[in-house]
Every structure is written in C-alpha cells, then in structure tokens.
Symmetry: C2
Subunit: 238 residues, 2 copies
C-alpha cells in the first residue's frame, strides 16, 4: 500500500467533516481517533490537520482541540488543488469510464509544447486525441502530448484506450502534481464535428503540465470538460 500524502489525507478528513454533517464550531475527532480511522500515523494526521488549518477549514484552540470553521463547513465537490487523472475524476463522479481513441501519432513539439515540457521545438512527442466517456456519454475531450522518450517503443503495440497515468507509471513516471490553467472555451472547429460534440459547447478548459515524482514534465494535457457535468471547487483565502 502506498502511504497517503498529506494533501490527500487532508482531503479525506475534509470529506469526513462533510459526510458527518459537521457544522461551524463542531469539534473534530482527536488525533488518535483520526489516526485509527485512516490507518496512518499520528504524525501524518497532524501534518494533514496543519494543512486544514492553513486553508482556514479548521481552527485549533490551544488546549481545547480542533474545530470546524465557517469555511470548513461548506461543501466542496471537486477540489481543484488535488491532482487526479481524468479516469479518477470521472470514476469519482460515479461513472463507468471508457475511452474512444480518435488519433495517436508521432508528432513534434511546437513552441507552446516545447515550453511546457521543457523540450526544444521539433523534439519528438506523442500526440494522442481521445474522447473520454462516462456511462457512454461524452465527458472530456482530451488532447495529450507526451514526451516521446517517456514512452519508448512503437506506437502500434500499446493500448491507447487505457489510462495514460497508468501507462506512464508502467514506465517509471509517476505523475504527482501539475500546474493547470482554467478557462472556458468552445471545442476547436477541427474537433467539434466529431460525434457532434459542438452541441456540448462551452467546455471548461484545463491546460495542464503534469510533473512526475521524479520532477520531469512528462505530459501536457489539454482537456475540455463538459461543463454541464463537471465543475471544480476551490477554497480561496486572502
């Protein structure tokens, strides 16, 4: 079992607060209780609680314990600051996930891709275009640009319908973080006739440079999320 990272544990505790219907001022379970509940050390729990405090979701009162803040009692559906693959995102929403591979090809880095993946322009990349379905409905239109050297070997022997995150993991590239840019967009004209996707305009566009545990920028993902089905939440603090 992989040890949970503090941000994920933080999210688990936040979900516990939501599930238990805790309101502002309600006291959190103690460190030993949380430690037992999540099967991790008290140190890990303390680390996660510290993050919750820093986010203003939990207030610590010396000698009294930790309490849910006004902010902490608000429901958060999909926290945008937690990295997850599209597969994980859609499964988290309760969908059965399938992928339609629209194209996969050897390509080269343009100026944008070169900057995002720290390559030189013209360096080889894999360009994969897919439609991600949830319960057979279009959910995410996805363009993945992958460093060619991250996935060596001929393209034709690989199952491009599988999770790219998993495929990258199989080659020792564990994506653990990303830098994302969120905006709104209609699907580009060259894709919008595919499966009559223009009917789902506009989309929440996430352009994301994904970084592996090893610190490599292995994947640049341009994902159009169907806006009627997918939104992101974020806690904002001054």
């Amino acid at each position: 079992m992989t040890a949970k990272m503090a941000p994920q544990l933080k999210e688990d505790i936040r979900q516990l607060i939501a599930q238990d219907g805790m309101g502002p001022g309600d006291q959190l379970p103690t460190e030993p209780e949380l430690s037992e509940r999540f099967g991790v050390s008290r140190n890990k729990i303390r680390e996660a609680l510290k993050l919750l405090e820093q986010d203003g979701l939990v207030t610590a009162i010396q000698g009294r314990g930790r309490f849910v803040s006004a902010l902490g009692s608000l429901p958060i559906e999909r926290p945008v600051n937690i990295y997850e693959s599209i597969t994980e995102l859609l499964q988290g929403l309760g969908y059965t996930v399938t992928n339609v591979v629209l194209s996969v090809e050897e390509s080269t880095a343009d100026a944008r891709v070169a900057r995002e993946l720290q390559l030189d322009e013209g360096d080889p990349v894999i360009r994969l275009v897919r439609l991600r379905l949830g319960d057979d409905q279009p959910m995410v239109f996805s363009i993945n640009i992958i460093r060619r050297d991250a996935l060596p070997g001929p393209l034709e022997y690989r199952n491009w319908g599988a999770s790219i995150t998993k495929i990258l993991e199989g080659h020792g590239h564990h994506v653990v973080s990303s830098i994302a840019r969120l905006s709104a967009a209609n699907l580009p004209a060259e894709h919008s006739t595919t499966y009559d996707l223009a009917q789902y305009d506009p989309w929440l566009l996430v352009e994301e440079t994904c970084i592996s545990r090893e610190g490599e920028r292995v994947l640049y993902a341009v994902d159009y999320h169907r806006s009627s089905e997918i939104a992101f939440n974020v806690v904002r603090r001054r």
Copy 2:
C-alpha cells in the same frame, strides 16, 4: 547587518525566480546555494521556502527538490486559491476598473441563495447586477447577492458602482475567504443582449460564497469572467 526575516527573504527568492526567467516546473537552487547567495543560514532559507510553498509559489517534491509553480512564474494570470475581489483581480491585470450598475433591488433568497448564505427561503437580500469594465472593455458580468442585514439602510443612498468588498468592510464585514465553483457557461439569455455581451461567449463562471473574518456568509457572487482575457492558475498535487 540585521538578520533578514523570513517574509523578506521569501520576497528576495521570489524576485530571484522572476529575474532568472524561471518557468513553471523549473527547479530552484538548492538550500546550500540559496544560503550562500543570500548570506543567511540554511534554517532561514528553509523557513522562507516553506512560506513560498504555503503561498503556492513553489512546489516541493519529496526527494527531488523545489520547483517553480504557475503562481511563481506567471505574474499576469491569477492564482485561484488566493481570494481577491473583482476590482483587485482587474487592477492586478493592469486595467483601470469602472462599473456599470445594471440593476440593484430588494429581493428574497431562493433555495440556492438560502443554502449558500445560511438564510431561510424568502429572507431579504440585495440583488446587484453589474458589468465590470477594464479600460472600458467588458471583463466581468457580475451578479451579487448580499444578506440584507449586512448592509442596512435604503438602497438609493449607496454608491453601487463602488467595490462591494469595500462597502461591506465599511459595515464591519471583512471578506477573507470563499468557496468557489468554477465552470464554463454562456451568459444567460436575459443578460446577453445587454451591451451585446453574447459576442464574448463563453465565459469562465465563478460562483462564490464569501465569508467574513467573523465567520458570516455575507455575499454570494456569480461572476462571468471574459474567457479571452481572464484565466486562473492552480497548482495541483496528489
């Protein structure tokens, strides 16, 4: 020589990142290198780096080092986890901000507003609809729902063209945090003919419950951000 405090040192490191033209994902110099460069102890450097991490300017990856985040490298775009008013957002983008008040009225909380502001359905609220301009160009179409008791007194004597954040502050409600939901949307039909705004579809929609320092949910803001001009950045981590 006075020992530098961590916040100043943090600012120095941030400036170093900007001066060296470091991009998202670029690795920072090591602790010993920074320690030598700024002539302070490694402990002080670590403290400053921790602040940079907490601010989301730097991402630490276990065993690999510290990396510049979107926030650390993109001065123009906006880190979504930092709460700021629309006025601050637009000023931060370098615009001169003006507001067109389209309507302001006494209204009542519907089910959604009641839930977001912890009111009962039918409780009184103020409904303010404005077009926020940057350098005289439409930037944000903004619907603000304000608890009626947060801003007592007749509506007609107030300058609704001013910053709502500032007006609320004048009444002792200091908005310091929010929970926001990000999605993509076209402007609703009843507003899209105003100033021919339909031409700017689609918009990045931010629905935001704003919480005061005192823990009150005072403001529910529905803001349509012009997507060609405004995007948000976020660091995501597993």
